[in-house]
Symmetry: C2
Subunit: 469 residues, 2 copies
């Protein structure tokens, strides 16, 4: 069981008690220690059991964060950064207790530079809040994990979503950031140049570092102009392999698809039930095209021809904005749809990413494995990236079912690694995938540990996550 | 003078002598110590005076590199990785002597995965050799610094070029790599998944590390399908500001330009003389559009309208492949054109990158500064990225002229930093820009040094570059 792998971390009760005393003096009501709030800050959409922090600090400024980190550093008190709590792999658990820094009140949009297509935000701004703010300016920020996550959290976990095939992931869309390091120093990893060859890429080092190197307090993000035309489409396929082939052909032809999402038959069925949609219940691609009206029409036509060659059918346009929004809302609600398909269950949502040429094989083997494990676990994913999710349903009161789900996760991660892929494409490592890091990275894990030890020698930044030190 | 800033590095003669003895036994003729070869390996297109390594090893395999690094590590002997020697900031100088590892014989293309749009190569493959190999498969690799550089060197300096506005830089196009670290361990930073949330981003840490953390021995790169249609265009503008405004408007409109290059009047004049072209001698944009035939025509038409609004004139199509190739050949030969414009001179080629909204201001101030310094120094650049170059001409026998050129470089770097930019967009830091790293990165420089010390505690990997330890 995954939890058995969790490091036994020492709980520095004496140090934490002193730190909390100092923090309370400094922050008064901003610091909370009620059981309810502490539970709320360990409870996320993960299947992993909660581990509560000793206190929650509602930070309101960079200065707050800096001061809190300095106090915690002085007393070797763990620090867990918290955005919206939508992570899936136990990133915000506090296995050694300590201080949860809730950044949701740091939610100001500091500057939109329309000419440079960039925006500077505090880490607590959510992706939906940012896009609501940008809409009237004709701009948008494309990265869209299922949840309405905070941008700081999205950077910390190197999140992506349905638009990554066209616009990249957080890796590609964070121009620079500011972070409070374990010694309390504020580091700025760059300014607003779109590219730089000056120094080590600290932006990319912090993106995906899962709070283990520092607390992100500001981000400058790349924006896109809202395209003149956007059009979605759906297309059914006889099997997952055919859908993957169509995707490969379209990408080789250089079709700049904005979104290309795969749902297996079980996912379609669950989404239909939850979102009152009427998609045909066989493997389905959901697509979106961005561009000029002429370009979008041309792209869709080319894709239609490719899909036809691959055995696709029922290619259907979704051009009206409200229909398009309903389509993607249904896709984004997939996690809840899959849980609702079996009332009273939880979902262990896992993801891997493989080269697209191996995707069909990986999905089919995983479907078989899930069936053989006697589990309900629909598969859906970002097929243009080779990234897919399995949502493995389990009853919390049935430890055997959870154990079988964890077996599927283990075999899936190893299958992805064998296929030259990665154990997680966008969910991150957190606690849940820590046991795969050395298998994936080999000697690279030692380099990661050397970096972690150099920057955070006392291991106060989100201890017990990502790396097995 | 820049060289005065170079760290006085200890030359570990005793250790190097022992290492060379061991290396000679192991590598026989692969190890060379002739003055001519050592000079050739310190002589690059940089303006900085050469500093020779003690020996040059022609590595033929990953094993060679690994063994050489282990021997050097045992005797604290500096290691300088060498690709084609086209760097501009003294990256391959050997200020503390040591072993130059020439990787040009590691030039095999190991695997093309057409379905996944990726390729795995050894580091000595040049960008032109790769593209020649890919052409018949309908694929290409877009990153194109002026020189026919090696892909290992391009990764090490985080190179880009004229296509970066559409396809990104080496940062975005290296999927994963292998590197021999200072302890001789071979690290693989990933496999072939297009994205990953597993662990620190070691790929991006090594890209742009300028050989200071390890020697890159293999790269997996992202490829593009050759577009159905490609079309270039030129357009003149009354001044640099107008050309920048047209670029900003086109990018805000979401026009997916593949290339958009700015030449100032002096650059146009030098290029016309060197390449027998007949461009109008005022600020000029060179553009390229990639897509379907319909899409390309539409993009060009939209850009034409925008350029007209901004005072552009003489918008002219270049559709025939041979004319297009001549156009970009002329652009890529700009460095030589600028040197030829003043026979007997060398060029100090410097670059910065600023937010595009500040580009016109930065270019105009720099033109004025160059004129006031009494120098000949045309400006040209990748305007879509906000990245531009000044090629400052100087007579090697005139130390005052070089000093004035270095003054321009200093003021230009600081001007870029003031404008929220970076001291180098694509040339890298090397020796020439080391003095700006702390000013640009502040406390971030300490984080970089901590990483360097953790990974390379004896400072054997390209010492005296990038960081002032």
């Amino acid at each position: 069981m995954a939890l058995a792998d969790l490091e036994k971390l020492e709980h520095n009760e004496a140090g934490i008690a002193v730190a909390l005393g100092v923090l309370r003096q400094r922050f008064a009501e901003q610091l909370q220690t009620s059981q309810a709030l502490r539970e709320q800050h360990a409870h996320t959409t993960t299947y992993l059991p909660p581990q509560l922090p000793d206190a929650v600090l509602f930070a309101q400024s960079q200065d707050d964060v800096q001061e809190a980190v300095r106090i915690c550093a002085a007393h070797k008190t763990p620090i867990i950064a918290f955005g919206t709590g939508t992570s899936l792999e136990g990133h915000v658990n506090a296995p050694a207790g300590g201080l949860c820094i809730d950044l949701s009140r740091m939610n100001r949009i500091l500057a939109v530079n329309a000419e440079d297509l960039d925006v500077t935000v505090e880490p607590g701004v959510t992706r939906e809040a940012l896009n609501a703010h940008l809409r009237d300016m004709g701009l948008f920020f494309p990265i869209d994990p299922g949840a309405n996550a905070s941008l700081g959290g999205m950077a910390a976990t190197r999140a992506s979503g349905t638009n990554a095939v066209r616009y990249g992931t957080m890796r590609d869309n964070v121009i620079s950031l500011k972070a409070v390091m374990p010694d309390g120093q504020l580091v700025s990893t760059g300014a607003r140049a779109r590219k730089s060859s000056s120094g080590y890429d600290l932006t990319r080092l912090l993106v995906g570092s899962e709070g283990t190197l520092g607390v992100i307090t500001e981000l400058t993000l790349r924006l896109q102009g809202i395209p003149e035309a956007m059009s979605a489409a759906i297309c059914s396929f006889p099997d997952v392999g055919a859908a993957c082939n169509a995707t490969i052909m379209a990408m080789q032809a250089g079709l700049p698809m904005a979104r290309i999402e795969l749902l297996d038959a079980a996912s379609v069925s669950a989404i239909n039930a939850y979102s009152s949609t009427e998609f045909p219940e066989s493997p389905l691609l959901l697509l979106e095209f961005h561009g000029s009206s002429g370009g979008v029409a041309e792209q869709a036509e080319m894709f239609g021809a490719i899909a036809g060659e691959c055995g696709g059918s029922g290619f259907e346009w979704v051009s009206k904005a409200e229909d398009r929004n309903r389509l993607w809302k249904a896709r984004h609600d997939a996690y809840w749809a899959l849980r609702a398909a079996r009332p009273g269950t939880q979902a262990l949502s896992t993801d891997v990413c493989v080269p697209i040429s191996r995707l069909a094989e990986c999905v089919v083997e995983t479907e078989r494995d899930i069936a053989e494990a006697g589990l309900y676990g629909p598969i859906l994913g970002h097929v243009g990236d080779g990234n897919f999710h399995a949502a493995l349903s389990f009853r919390p009161e049935d430890p055997d079912e959870l154990a079988r789900a964890e077996g599927v996760v283990e075999r899936l991660a190893l299958r992805a690694l064998e296929m030259e892929g990665t154990c997680t494409g966008e969910h991150g490592v957190g606690q849940g995938k820590r046991r795969f890091v050395r298998r994936e990275h080999g000697a690279g894990a030692d380099v990661m540990i050397a970096i972690k030890n150099a920057i955070d020698p006392d291991n106060i930044m989100n201890p017990g996550k990502m790396l097995a030190l």
